[in-house]
């Protein structure tokens, strides 16, 4: 009797599971939808609404806070159904190598013609088979001109000045911080020579007396509230912060700087391919790309979109860096083989050794 009951229960349960499994794909396939997995607050809602109005496609938005979060999710459940993701350049490289991305058919993206050629065919994706640039971000020097004179500040090296003792905000990001030391030493940010990395570590050690705080979560708030008045920052964040604190100034260091290209990519198992192409093409339409750049505050790779911006925004180097400026930017590679070394030195720095 007991066994019989158990068996019935088990049968019921498996029927239940089966019906879920059976029904859901049918429902999924019928609906005209697109699943987008994007950085928090990196895709304006108006743009999504307009896309729906024009195409009738409903966009499901899920959000992530870091490349790592997104990568782990896609890796753990490749069939979860995400169509479009927004990895940064070095994650494109990693995901491409691990066969996690769909090869983009460029014939379906006529708006690709508007994208700045300086930002295409980069080493992380030499033929742009897997990725299309969405927005660029650049790490530079931020200074509050109310408190400090910005005349002598043109390079990363200037952050070592005596007068900045205990004043700097340094991003809580290992690669970014090592990059400034490598750049002042004249090396590439992707240098894998252990001696050079050690040199960078020793150089950073001499910066520590100037550091007030390591932070990359609420860096904007800290600059706006003047809890730190000089340090590292991202151009887009500072661009938006200017509305609240116009005294901030962003400087592109002359040695060069880290540039990051956040891209659009389609996942390997994307269930709604056609809609994904429509969406990517839509995001590259000049009027839409303009809206995105204006609202998110980061430079658009879309040349036609930049031309649509109001004159003062076009002349704003934070939103529209010139191509000479862009040439000084260096893209991060996934330098996996030296990461443990980086981490060792990073920990030492953090505990002040």
């Amino acid at each position: 009797m007991l066994k019989n009951k158990l068996a019935k229960k088990f049968l019921g349960l498996s029927l239940l599971c089966f019906s879920f499994g059976f029904l859901s794909p049918v429902v999924l396939a019928q609906a005209n939808i697109l699943n987008v997995y994007v950085w928090t607050a990196y895709l304006p809602q108006d743009v999504v609404k307009q896309f729906r109005k024009e195409t009738g496609i409903r966009v499901n938005i899920s959000e992530y806070d870091s490349n790592e979060t997104m990568y782990a999710k896609i890796k753990a459940s490749p069939d979860a159904g995400y169509d479009i993701i927004f990895p940064s350049n070095y994650f494109i490289h990693r995901m491409r190598k691990q066969n996690m991305l769909h090869i983009i058919d460029k014939d379906k993206l006529p708006n690709l013609q508007y994208i700045n050629r300086d930002l295409l065919r980069k080493p992380f994706d030499p033929n742009n088979e897997f990725s299309i640039p969405y927005l660029c971000s650049i790490t530079g020097i931020v200074i509050n001109t109310d408190y400090l004179d910005n005349k002598n500040i043109t390079s990363w090296q200037d952050l070592w000045q005596e007068r900045f003792r205990d004043k700097l905000l340094v991003l809580d990001d290992m690669r970014e911080v090592f990059s400034i030391a490598l750049l002042t030493l004249g090396y590439s940010i992707n240098d894998t020579n252990p001696d050079h990395i050690k040199e960078a570590y020793l150089k950073l050690k001499t910066l520590l007396p100037n550091v007030k705080i390591f932070n990359s979560d609420v860096e904007q708030n800290i600059y706006i509230d003047e809890d730190a008045i000089v340090g590292m920052g991202w151009n887009g964040d500072i661009n938006l912060s200017l509305a609240e604190n116009p005294k901030l100034k962003f400087i592109y260091p002359k040695e060069g700087f880290v540039m990051s290209i956040d891209c659009l990519a389609i996942t390997k198992n994307a269930p709604h391919l056609e809609n994904a192409y429509k969406f990517i093409n839509f995001l590259m339409r000049p009027d839409i790309a303009k809206k995105i750049s204006e609202e998110i505050g980061y430079p658009s790779p879309n040349l036609a979109a930049i031309k649509l911006l109001p004159k003062d925004m076009q002349n704003n180097p934070l939103l529209n860096p010139s191509s000479e400026l862009l040439k000084r930017g260096q893209l991060q590679d996934a330098t996996d083989e030296v990461l443990p070394l980086y981490e060792k030195y990073w920990e030492k720095l953090k505990i002040g050794e």
Binding site: F20, I61, K73, A80, G81, S241
Partner: protein
């Protein structure tokens, strides 16, 4: 003497301050007239209007409330029945089952998340509403069972024997005696489950899918990339909602016990 009284009153005051001050700050900052600063710049209700214009945030909140209510209700039903049967009946593997409940509570959520994800993918269950609901029910059941069980053990077994003597069936005993006696702990179990479901990030991260995103994941991502004051507004509203639920639950219980006393 005076010092004694000072300690007597200031100690609980500090406890409450410690518990509630952070929440109070969220409420205050939901009225702060600035989008990025953490300094007080003036009073505004702008964030509440923006919250109600933010369809994405609202729909995500709706999803979370639906999942929370459903998961809490189902888990409470299952958990209560489990607690009652653990208490009243003797069956094979009872001790083991009881022990396993505690194992579930101390199991790190990340283990649960990965385990469920593996189960779903082997069953071909797509990630979305159902996967989340099942995960949250699983997460909540042990908490309900243990809350209810700890109350049930304080009951006098003689009550059930008396009821049976008077000819009550098992079902009558369950519905007319056990449930009313347990109602405070059942309500507590429900509220606990609802809260657990509403703020679970880790398990949800693994088992959620693109078609059904929920609030804790969204808030977590937002916090990492700079808090928007809208979130403060949303938290304030959720806080009021929770307070209302708890007050009404307390009120219902109070009325109930009042009636009983009157009958006596």
């Amino acid at each position: 003497m005076k010092l004694n009284r000072l300690i007597k009153y200031s100690y609980p005051a500090f406890v409450y301050l410690f518990l509630y001050f952070p929440i109070l700050i969220i409420v205050v900052f939901s009225f702060n007239d600035t989008s990025r600063s953490l300094v007080w710049k003036g009073f505004t209700t702008q964030w509440y209007t923006e919250l109600f214009r933010d369809t994405n945030l609202l729909s995500v909140t709706g999803h979370s409330l639906i999942i929370g209510v459903l998961a809490a209700t189902i888990a409470t039903a299952i958990g209560t029945i489990a607690a009652v049967s653990l208490f009243r009946y003797r069956f094979w593997g009872k001790k083991l089952l009881h022990g396993l409940l505690f194992v579930m509570i101390v199991t790190p959520e990340i283990v649960m998340g990965i385990a469920l994800l593996l189960l779903y993918s082997s069953l071909d269950l797509p990630l979305g509403f159902w996967s989340l609901l099942l995960a949250h029910i699983t997460l909540c059941i042990p908490f309900v069972t243990i809350t209810v069980y700890s109350r049930i053990t304080t009951l006098d077994k003689a009550i059930f024997e008396a009821a049976r003597d008077l000819g009550a069936t098992d079902f009558t005993i369950f519905s007319k005696i056990i449930i009313p006696l347990l109602s405070p702990s059942i309500i507590a179990g429900w509220l606990l489950s609802f809260t657990l479901s509403l703020d679970d990030v880790i398990t949800s991260y693994f088992v959620s899918g693109p078609s059904f995103s929920i609030l804790p994941l969204k808030v977590y991502a937002m916090v990492r990339l700079g808090i928007k004051p809208e979130i403060n507004a949303l938290c304030t509203l959720l806080l009021i909602l929770t307070l209302l639920i708890i007050i009404s639950a307390q009120f219902a219980l109070y009325k109930n016990s009042g009636k009983k006393h009157a009958k006596k």
